[in-house]
Symmetry: C2
Subunit: 311 residues, 2 copies
């Protein structure tokens, strides 16, 4: 952690004081030298991604001191931006932190992965891995409350499993750490088989799900958090035979591929949120000095919903 002076603003620039910063699993992949879907972090660069904050000084006519904004703030207290890089937060949206969860990348990729890949239909069964994470909790709620699917979440603790069914309305939740035989739990909770799978986890969890998919199943691959900390790739079940047998469709998704539809999707999600059809689920850690710990917690799964750091 480093302390530096905030430089003076140039014309058109805005100084933002961070209020909440986001920690996300994808950041782990950008710590490697190997090719990923975004440029890797470089030593000496500001680390991190999205955050929300307050305009504390403005040399742009479009922004007033005191306004709340979303932007790629990085893991820092203050940041300077050109106005094109910031998104104003709708004051009607409560809480504003939704811009990092349901209305941010997690909610947006849930929205596109469902609409574009899973194509949910009423009464069909959807399984979501890392079901209590920022993406998973959005996926399950949208599939259940908007599309009317039978929704089963896979998660890593009884507490989170209880939250998914009791608070978010999932039809069932499986604690994969407790229920050693995930295949049997999937058969119990998905009596009509699995029509859609939204994968945030990968690894053995996905192997089990692929063993129980229905014909013409549709699978969105959004994350593989179970694998991000492996020193080297591990072997696993082969899934192509199951894809063939069931003529399943599997597609990887990345928010960057939906760039031109983000504003529209954010509006739809914001409407669902205002109507109370979706709930924000957040875990908040206090203090910039605790941000690395909050980040590491993502991989042990101690967070419930969107993990945020309050500055």
């Amino acid at each position: 952690m480093e302390k530096v002076e905030v430089p003076a603003l140039s014309d058109g620039e805005v100084l933002v004081k961070s209020t909440y910063l986001s920690v996300d699993p994808y950041m782990r992949n950008l710590m490697r030298r190997s090719k990923s879907y975004m440029d890797s972090y470089q030593i000496g660069e500001i680390f991190g991604g999205a955050g929300i904050g307050k305009v504390v000084e403005s040399r742009s006519s479009g922004y007033q001191t005191g306004e709340m904004v979303w932007g790629i703030l990085g893991w820092q207290e203050y940041s300077i931006h050109r106005t094109g890089q910031l998104l104003k937060i709708d004051p009607d949206i409560q809480p504003a932190t939704a811009y990092l969860g349901l209305l941010g990348t997690p909610g947006l990729i849930a929205y596109f992965g469902l609409a574009d890949v899973c194509k949910p239909r009423e009464g069909k069964t959807l399984v979501v891995s890392s079901g209590a994470g920022a993406v998973g909790s959005a996926v399950g709620q949208i599939a259940k409350h908007i599309y009317g699917c039978h929704v089963v979440g896979i998660t890593g603790s009884d507490e989170k499993a209880h939250y998914l069914t009791a608070e978010l309305g999932f039809d069932a939740a499986i604690n994969y750490r407790l229920d050693q035989n995930l295949r049997i739990e999937l058969m119990k909770t998905c009596p009509n088989g699995i029509d859609m799978y939204f994968d945030n986890a990968g690894g053995d969890i996905s192997d089990a799900v692929f063993g129980h998919i229905n014909d013409h199943a549709r699978v969105a691959v959004c994350g593989q958090i179970a694998l991000y900390n492996l020193a080297r790739p591990e072997a696993g079940s082969r899934i192509l035979p199951s894809i063939l047998l069931h003529r399943a469709m599997v597609k990887g998704i990345l928010i960057a591929d939906y760039e031109d539809q983000l504003a529209e999707a954010r509006q739809v999600l914001g409407q669902w949120l205002k109507e109370g059809q979706l709930k924000c689920t957040e875990t908040i850690t206090d203090g910039l000095e605790n941000i690395t710990g909050a980040f590491i917690n993502l991989f042990s799964g101690t967070n419930l919903g969107k993990q945020l750091v309050r500055i």
Copy 2:
């Protein structure tokens, strides 16, 4: 092998004498008790699938003695059919055995897998595994000569590799048994990466291909012949991380899903064949008594193109 009397025909029935019978990799999967995409073979039933033959007796007004037909003849010399189960062979199509290859299930699934899943575009790179098999040789030729793709076949001998480039016009062919480092061979032969993969093989071959796919690659999973004779499922590379990284789309295909488009596709393929854009590639074994050997040869890969048995 059993000899029985041919029963007398009822009204509307046709007696067909087999001239060529088909042996196909999918039959291996139907020898298991486990669920597959078709009903398993039962002990005591006639084994086998498609064949072509000659009408030798007809009690149907629609069929004349001497006409050539395609049907699910089974591995037998004579078979009785109701006329709705037979397809008349167009005498302009030469050779008539094309109805078991390019105009049969192998050519049709090649056609649909390309059109529906791979969606080939001129200049893009397509890799096909089991490239010298009945499906693979159709895939490569259509991708090359109809769509104008850069086509690389993966096959199991130098002779077959030579055939693919010299006779069928593939841009390159890799003998995976010789070229131990398939990944390096793929990099050499696909300098712009792999945009499409038509998988008939699975196993380590597919693992290598998934390591070299481009963003938004499209993968048709048609067969997994490398795995059909395994006593138990083997572990392999995990492919979901690659699917995610490259936002690839992977889809299993089965001819039964295209039932209502078969006639139209057969017409298009027949036209390409008549125009000389596609070539029939066949390996012919003589005698019903040798049909099991011909079938087993599919798994050692001694056949070039469509393996047929002449009766």
